[in-house]
Symmetry: C2
């Protein structure tokens, strides 16, 4: 039998895999001499065996637990169940990766009628003991016996009402005794058995419950969101209780070594006098800021400051520390790397490099590129004056607007229907996690910066305001009273999680700016990465923004967006509906100067950097009116009386033409170079515009490198013909001018056949740009438009697919084709330039793949350029 | 300078590549001592150089031609342009692959006013000389000067009318002299220059014209149909004229050594007394059958019989021979392997094996599997009595029905609009080839079995009746007079090319039966092939037919066709529109006994052979009403007054549901195993039906091997789940019965990702069936529904693609994926069974590919099974 139970002094911080994060850190702190209440950890291996045995604890594990309890009794000089000197325990989950609040915890275990009486004798504090006992009954009943929380809460509420009391702290020993008796009756009536009095049985049931909580619904959801394997299991930490509820020289708190919202290097946290840990986290009482402890308990504060600093240096990361003060003595109950906002994460990492704690590579490795996304979101325009409705704690930065909902289920439902929502609650609990995920932002009237809502929102990068006590929330009526105003479900509000401001209605947003630390981090990333980062941009504004963010060129300039502009669409439609080549050319001649202006603007913005321009790609019917609407319109015209005959005839003609262009599967239809081959005059106009624009801007001193890209090539002959078209126009244009324009011609590789025959295609291409959006559609045979609504989400939920392949590149299938394309292409042309321009170009795992297979660049939307710079550096570090 | 001109005695039959077919055979015949008029061949290499030089004959080639002429003058003792003893020449094209009638020919070259006068003196036959001269002017003017045929014809017509003459043969020397003078005037007025009198200039211009005719429109079309490369070029054969128009002891004819329509071993051909070759082929006079020559010229007939037999043995194939008799002496002007119907081809090949001329392998290699298609078409039901309108020559077998059209352009136009047509003409010319291609069948009132219409129709496998002289065709009025009936354009007729019967209206058709020779050939093929042949069949009738044709199992039984039956579709729709699982199961329970009956019938038919059943594949909306029609209906209901409110509500609900199921790209949508995963109850019902049916038929003594196939798998997890579903049902069914059913579970490989990850998928599969229809769609990114109408035909025409990839497998792209799938699959499971079930399974070049990469079987439609058997044998022979 392997060792399945470790006393704290037997472990260390590197044993997370078997002790879980909490257990490993408790062991580490014990060994470095910090004041940790003694205890032991049951390993994750024991949890796996528990599930393997059909949710049973085997005899060998049971006997290891019993031995550990004996050793703990010896150490603490207390005995489990002994009324003379009872050992009370906390039983807490602790998995390999932090899953705060997702699994179960039981405090004060070991209390029963006898030990409670004994403890009253021993401590002389009846109120404390009964407070602890009622807490224990409530937690144990919730976690082990499945009796819901609110039954107990309403008993407490009734007692408070009877006594006219507002706060728990005003409850007397006699009050708690009545509550305990009522609790025990409740348990008897619900379970048909009295509340279990045997502490050993309590312990065994508690361990089983914590193991089982690994598979509760919210833990599963959390793991899915955070990509944590379902196979890891949780450890169980069993530790001697220390009591923050032993009077006014006792208390409990949580603190971060730096500000988890901004990253500022300043102790940041909260505490409550005469309370147990869950009171702080659950947000039931709004706690005091940690700096007030300096006045209330100056020695404790000094000691805590020292320990904090020691822990941060020891772990080389910002720490999230739980502590309890029992009658003037400080205990550390947990430390872990603290969750933080992206902004804080960046600032902390960069500061720690400056402080000599971290290397630059470590700092870069530490930031999750996905999290940076929130720094690149638009925020409330600071130049606009707003009417602020209320102010709460700025718990998670960012701005969000949405309609008010009051329940997590509603948040999910509305959001699935496409409505942006703000979830408003007095406080949130782990049961609300799906609603937080669905909402744009979270607003609570109770709880502090370390409350559940705040921690979860920061983890997800959602805007969040906590403890906004001005709001009087009525969940039943679905209303908020604030400053004589009444807000109802569905009303539009905005929240600013960076300042804590609640604002009515929608607010204007502005583009983000990068902080000094963020810029610094990205400069370090640039020194390490080998992959170039380009951007997908179709207009000068986006091009400029991307360049500010560090883009090194345009990897994809889609010309169809230019065709969609309101002024142009009638001309584009004329062009499409033309009955003859001459007629079509007339329209194209009108479009030529407009396209030329488009390209001039982009060339100016990207002065000196390469610009890859993709010629027209979508099927022509995308520019025409919707066929279904037209069908209805014509049907109505045909039925109506007194109709303008000319209008009817026109609409019928239009419908006939739209029908002629209609396609069963437009994704696989007449688009890309297939258009260029059938209507060469369209591509000719576009190429002419590129060269006219290039010539003009070169004349004004701008450096231009157009890379002309032919879309949807599946056979080398398609590219050969289209390349010839480009070369012919280029030659014609060059003859007319003495300004030479140097250019290249390449292709998208976005069809399986293109990748499979890349050796042939490379003969005609100066570069390959992998269009992995379309390549994913054809390789899987998924229409993205249809799949995501119909089965793809279910596929990911049911783990048929590990990821949505439109978000993270499918390495085995699509990736194999990309790799094949690169290898075959470079067989023909060793220096063929290669890049990727699908959405995968801005996603960290896909970027890592692109680095591994040796692409020259990735191209992504302007706002993902910084993310790509960081991810590219991480990929380079990983491959060293 | 390479040798670009070869005298006939310098070549042989193996030099086709440079001498062309005609030139090589003229050389061969010269060398074996047959009576061939002397001459020489200008090579295909010279033709290529001619095009490379911008349609110019270079000086070195020109001088080789001049030397060859001198040698010919020496040999014949005649001199080009010498009025005392003029050498007259035929100038004929001759390409590597036979392209009968597609390129140009000029006879009687060397005639001018002086040589004509000299020849009259020499021959004493003024009428012959002037007849030859008028022929020369007409052909030269048509081919070289571009003056259209009908101008000359109308001059002859006028002269005939003036003299009250019906036939050319009645024209006197004086008549022809007037015609010649009129011809020369016509040329002067059209070209502003007199008809060229210099024989050397005539020759040079004629050579250039023949070279150039390689690229005329009809030659290009012919090459495209027959897959002949455009790069080969044509040789030019220049030969001393011999004259069939020198009186009644002269004549000209064409004969096949066997019957090209039936394959019967009997000389078969036609001749005309006192005529030149083109008179026979052009169908201007209906010629006499060859056996009449026995009476008219018994010695010539005997000699010809002997030569025919010698040529057939020499070439080991049926010969198509052109001959001329000049004043009682027989000349052979051409021999070539004769074009034949599929029926004749098979009979000749099998007979030649029996005669000891060919080996079995040679016989099999000689048959083009594509041509067999016509033997497998339905023909006129022999049990039905028909009203026969007229009878002509049975020129090309097969039955066809269609609307009458009178012009090739109309045939093409109507056919493109989806109308079946019969092209009816007095005679056809090479200009009509696009119309013949477009028509279902050809009917002419003039010309014999070797006329243009007959030869071309047999080559294309189209039904054709020639020389149906009862028909009085009026091309201007677009009418036919026959037996007091008047038929007009657009009237429906049927023709039976096997018997020569013309029938009004549509006729009932019956399934084909295989001839004794065909069966013999296929038995030989079965001994040679290693590839198994299965069939795609969804019902007992098709299964039986396929088995008769030699299918060795069902490779694809599509279950969706069973869902489409009229009785079932309402139940299927109920199932789809069900609001709950329970409701859906109610409908499925109704379908279960029906599906069970389907499978029982098929299992009975295939007793002892494997049956691969594919579970439901198409998206569910295919079973619902068309959305556009429903949109119009609902719009109308909404506008109308006094409408049944219940009906309106029902239709609106239906529309809403149809819209919910509607997909942007159904090809890439919610279908295949994606349905099975989201609605497992549908697949469960189908699997249950398979096992119920198997159990019942096994009980009645039938041997059953169901192979259950999961469609559209892209990831191994999809197959794993669906396989588990099958196994679960199988186990449940087995428990209920003591009749064990052995079965396998496999998958379609029809998505690129499936081929790319075939090693993983093979872990869950007993067999792979490559669905190359869908695989072609996704690999190319072509929606077949859209591509064929919008750009695919243009792609093939413009040679962007060498073939339509839906017809012939694209070896480089789709084929590479199939090969990868086989290799990766067999890495995991060395004995994994592999097959193909797309339409490629019945196409010869695709079958060859399947053999090469080692598939176990191909599966095709029942009527293509014999074709596949032959093609598989050819593939096996080719790879030895």
């Amino acid at each position: 039998m392997n060792k399945m139970v470790f006393a704290f002094h037997e472990g260390n911080k590197d044993m997370k895999d078997i002790l879980g994060g909490k257990g490993a850190n408790l062991a580490e702190m014990t060994n470095v001499g910090l004041p940790v209440p003694p205890g032991f950890t049951i390993t994750t291996a024991a949890c796996k065996q528990f599930f393997a045995e059909g949710e049973k604890i085997t005899a060998p594990i049971q006997s290891q637990i019993e031995e550990a309890i004996k050793a703990l009794e010896l150490k603490t000089q207390k005995t489990l169940g002994d009324p003379a000197n009872p050992l009370l325990l906390s039983v807490r989950s602790g998995s390999v990766f932090s899953m705060p609040g997702m699994m179960d915890t039981i405090l004060n275990l070991g209390l029963n009628d006898d030990t409670a009486a004994g403890l009253i004798r021993l401590s002389g504090d009846e109120r404390f003991v009964l407070d602890s006992y009622r807490r224990f009954i409530q937690m144990f009943s919730d976690v082990v016996l499945g009796i819901e929380h609110y039954h107990f809460e309403s008993i407490i509420q009734r007692q408070k009402q009877a006594k006219g009391i507002q706060n728990d702290i005003e409850m007397t020993a006699a009050d708690w005794r009545l509550v305990v008796e009522a609790f025990k009756k409740l348990v008897l009536s619900k379970t048909k058995e009295p509340f279990p009095q045997d502490p050993k049985m309590q312990l065994q049931k508690a361990i089983i419950a914590v193991f089982s909580s690994w598979n509760n619904q919210r833990a599963k959801v959390y793991r899915k969101i955070n990509r944590i394997s379902d196979d890891l299991g949780t450890a169980v930490n069993i530790q001697m209780m220390v009591f923050g509820n032993l009077g006014n020289d006792s208390g409990t708190g949580v603190a971060f070594t730096r500000n988890p919202s901004t990253g500022e290097k300043k102790l940041y946290g909260e505490y409550l006098i005469n309370a147990q840990g869950e009171d702080v986290v659950a947000g039931i009482r709004t706690p005091q800021a940690i700096n007030q402890l300096q006045e209330q308990m100056p020695h404790i504060y000094q000691e805590f400051i020292q320990i904090s600093s020691r822990l941060e240096n020891h772990y080389r990361d910002m720490q999230d520390i739980e502590f309890t003060v029992e009658k003037g003595k400080l205990y550390i109950l947990q430390t872990r790397n603290g969750k933080r906002t992206a902004q804080a994460g960046v600032k902390i990492a960069v500061n720690m490099v400056e402080e000599g704690i971290l290397s630059r590579e470590d700092a870069i490795k530490r930031i999750d590129p996905d999290q940076l996304d929130q720094l690149l979101h638009r925020r409330i325009d600071t130049n606009v004056s707003l009417t602020v409705l209320a102010k709460g704690l700025p718990a998670s930065p960012g701005a969000a607007s949405g309609k008010i909902v009051f329940h997590a289920d509603d948040a999910e439902k509305w959001s699935q229907a496409g409505v942006d929502v703000i979830l408003v609650r007095p406080e949130t609990t782990p049961e609300d996690i799906h609603g937080i995920l669905a909402a744009q932002g979270i607003l609570t009237s109770r709880g502090g910066m370390t409350s559940h809502a705040a921690v979860v929102a920061r983890g997800m990068g959602k805007a969040c305001i906590c403890g906004c006590e001005e709001l009087k929330i009525d969940l039943k009526k679905k209303e908020i009273q604030v400053q004589n105003q009444l807000l109802k479900e569905g009303d539009l509000i905005s929240i600013d999680g960076s300042t804590g401001r609640v604002i009515t209605g929608q607010v204007p947003l502005m583009d983000p700016e990068l902080s000094i630390e963020f810029k610094q981090l990205l400069e370090w990333a640039d020194e390490l990465r080998t992959l170039k980062i380009r951007t997908n941009a179709d207009n000068p504004e986006d091009s400029k923004k991307a360049r500010e963010f560090g883009a090194e060129g345009i990897g994809l300039c889609r010309t169809e967006h230019m065709f969609m502009e309101a002024k142009r669409i009638p001309i584009v439609q004329q062009m499409i509906l033309a009955e003859s080549l001459e007629e079509r050319k007339l329209s194209l001649n009108q479009l030529l100067p407009m396209q030329t202006e488009d390209f001039k603007g982009i060339f100016h913005a990207m002065n000196g950097l390469p610009v890859t321009i993709r010629l027209l790609d979508p099927p022509l019917h995308e520019f025409l009116p919707n066929m279904d609407e037209l069908l209805i319109e014509v049907t109505k015209l045909n039925m109506a009386q007194d109709v303008d005959e000319k209008l009817r005839a026109e609409k019928e003609t239009l419908l006939r033409k739209v029908k002629a262009l209609h396609e069963m599967n437009p994704m696989l239809g007449h688009r890309g170079c297939r258009l260029g081959l059938m209507y060469p005059e369209i591509y000719q106009m576009q190429v002419e515009a590129i060269f006219m624009a290039a010539r003009e801007v070169i004349a004004s001193g701008v450096e231009v490198q157009p890379e002309i890209m032919i879309p949807l090539v599946g056979h080398v002959n398609e590219l050969a013909q289209m390349k010839q078209l480009v070369v012919d126009i280029a030659n014609k244009m060059q003859q007319k001018s003495d300004i030479p324009v140097s250019y290249t011609v390449g292709t998208m590789i976005e069809l399986p056949r293109a990748a499979l025959t890349a050796d042939q295609i490379a003969n005609e291409a100066d570069f390959f740009s992998f269009g992995t959006n379309d390549l994913t559609q054809t390789t899987f045979g998924y229409s993205r438009d249809d799949a995501e609504g119909k089965f793809l989400h279910a596929y990911v939920d049911q783990k048929i697919l590990s990821d949505n392949p439109f978000i993270t590149i499918d390495v085995e299938g699509v990736g194999a084709l990309v790799q094949m394309g690169v290898e075959k292409g470079q067989q023909t042309k060793p220096h063929l330039k290669t890049g990727i321009c699908g959405e995968h170009g801005g996603e960290k795992r896909s970027i890592q793949f692109c680095h591994q297979i040796g692409l020259d660049y990735v191209s992504c939307s302007p706002f993902r350029v910084p993310i790509a710079r960081l991810a590219a550096a991480q990929a380079a570090i990983a491959s060293n």
